[in-house]
């Protein structure tokens, strides 16, 4: 395990949905523009007010790293972090650990997969679209292998 996320007053509802294995983004109540991460204001029309919209966690691979340095105390195994361009929100990059035995490919289509890290913490990781995903990964490990 790495660090536990620290939800704030903007993000707590989002994390609660993730815990229920639901991927949602905010949608502006005025102009309908989706946004992520969770924030009070729409950056386009600058109004408050939004609704949650459940979206398919799909995107494409923008980049990735394979970490070797123990930046997280106690985590010594090489692990892969992927940067994904999220389909549901224009211009949005999100991160996660990579859930496949093979490395990602540039531009490949990926799907989110929920990982139960501990009993009270679930995070969203990413896997090749062809492999399915979405319904969750049985392992509690967050590293590549």
């Amino acid at each position: 395990m790495a660090y536990r996320p620290e939800p704030d007053r903007d993000s707590r509802p989002w994390w609660e949905r993730i815990a229920r294995r639901e991927f949602a983004v905010q949608e502006c109540a005025s102009c309908g523009t989706p946004r992520f991460p969770p924030r009070a204001f729409c950056p386009l029309c600058r109004t408050e007010g939004c609704r949650w919209r459940e979206v398919a966690p799909v995107g494409t691979v923008e980049s990735w790293i394979v970490n070797h340095q123990p930046f997280v105390p106690g985590r010594l195994d090489p692990y892969l972090v992927v940067m994904v361009r999220l389909e549901a929100v224009s211009g949005c990059l999100v991160y996660g650990n990579w859930r496949s035995e093979r490395p990602p490919e540039h531009g490949e289509r990926v799907v989110g997969t929920f990982t139960e890290v501990t009993e009270d913490l679930t995070v969203l990781d990413w896997a090749p679209a062809a492999a399915g995903g979405v319904h969750g990964h049985p392992s509690g490990r967050t590293s590549l292998q």
């Binding site: 790293i65 930046f71 991160y95």
Partner: protein, 395 residues
């Protein structure tokens, strides 16, 4: 969409109105054995000595920090400065380093203060490791979307952007390696540099992985040390000990966020938006820059800035370095002191000081003959959507 067109209206009142009159350093080490307050005082006094001034003449102090160092409100009293006319305690990392000097220049140009010393003092190896190893996660809302994946440190983040650039433009490990080798060759000629043993491309390619695609030799040093520069009016600087170096342009801001929500293009930095404003302030373009000290927290950050500051086309930064253009005898010598990769890492200020040294012509074996204009830049706006930079000119 937000799209402000900046029309400079008061250029003549800022361009070349202020100057850097002195620079000062402590030695760069891996363990200073003293507090950041001590380092700050030593660098401030060294810069004043260089300028031929005494602390009694200082009426402003400025620094940037991330909660890791002594602020002006400690350094002032420690040096017996009881009534500073102006000070700045800028929160932020490498992306604001040059904004501190720019704001000092503004304060001097506006007449709020006459002699401002900008400093940065860090124990970035022995106390608060800048690379992230062994310290807690920085506090930012963005962290919650990254840290759970073990994605917490600058080497990881810049490696991520570097691979995006490699994938899109064909930038290769050999390009990063050539940059590291070229900068080391300059550090060999710099008595202040921590790393003075030449390296080869093979040394680079065989150095251990930190976060693929980054190897150890892609990463800057973590350094204990301090650096300071004295900002005053150009008029006053002309009567001081050293040849003045004019501040022709100072810009900060720029760009969009590369955080989760707004990563439009991870291969373009805030520098691309800032550069036209900076050049307009100084009244020149990239073709007139003789020396560039580009923020090199990692090899890749130099390559992307070569593109975003207009020295080569987008995507051509790697081949540009490979051509030898950034070597000491190339058309654009970059990081003439060896940079953070080989001289030491003082979070931006040692780039400013080196630019001053080159323009004064006192850079010794690594002097670029006839250097008249220098660009010095901060972290180009990854992690936070802002950067800052200076254009300096020999008086």
């Amino acid at each position: 969409m937000h799209n402000v067109t900046y029309v400079p209206k008061r250029l003549l009142e800022f361009r070349n109105v202020t100057a850097i009159a002195g620079v000062g350093y402590t030695p760069f080490t891996k363990d200073s054995g003293v507090s950041t307050l001590t380092l700050a005082c030593r660098a401030v006094l060294a810069a004043l000595e260089d300028a031929g001034l005494t602390a009694d003449e200082v009426d402003g102090l400025a620094t940037h920090r991330v909660g890791d160092s002594a602020p002006p409100t400690l350094v002032g009293p420690a040096l017996g400065l009881s009534d500073l006319a102006w000070h700045l305690d800028q929160f932020g990392g490498g992306s604001v380093s040059h904004a501190v000097v720019g704001q000092a220049a503004l304060a001097v140009a506006a007449g709020l203060a006459e002699t401002v010393v900008c400093y940065r003092a860090i124990n970035a190896r022995s106390e608060f490791r800048m690379g992230g190893t062994g310290r807690g996660v920085p506090v930012s809302p963005e962290v919650q979307y990254q840290a759970p994946y073990g994605y917490v440190a600058p080497p990881q983040q810049f490696a991520m952007y570097a691979r995006a650039h490699m994938l899109r433009y064909g930038t290769r490990a050999e390009h990063f390696g050539r940059l590291a080798v070229t900068q080391r060759a300059k550090a060999v000629k710099n008595p202040r540099a921590l790393m003075r043993t030449p390296i080869t491309l093979d040394d680079y390619l065989s150095s251990r992985w930190i976060a693929e695609p980054f190897r150890l030799l892609d990463c800057c040093l973590e350094t204990d040390g301090a650096c300071a520069v004295v900002v005053t009016t150009a008029e006053r600087a002309r009567s001081l000990r050293r040849p003045p170096v004019l501040i022709s342009g100072a810009a900060w801001g720029g760009g969009t966020s590369h955080l989760s929500g707004a990563g439009a293009d991870p291969t373009v930095t805030a520098a691309a938006a800032l550069a036209p404003r900076l050049y307009a302030q100084a009244g020149l373009g990239p073709g007139e820059v003789d020396v560039a000290e580009l923020y090199d927290c990692f090899t890749y950050s130099v390559i992307v800035q070569l593109e975003d500051y207009g020295f080569c086309a987008k995507g051509e930064g790697g081949p540009y370095v490979e051509s030898g253009a950034t070597a000491l005898d190339g058309p654009l010598p970059v990081n003439t002191h060896g940079g953070f990769l080989s001289e030491g890492y003082v979070h931006g200020l040692n780039h400013v000081a080196e630019a001053v040294s080159q323009l004064r012509g006192d850079a010794g074996d690594r002097q670029v003959p006839g250097a008249e204009v220098a660009l010095s830049t901060s972290q180009p706006g990854y992690i936070l959507p802002a950067t800052s930079a200076l254009i300096l000119r020999r008086a």
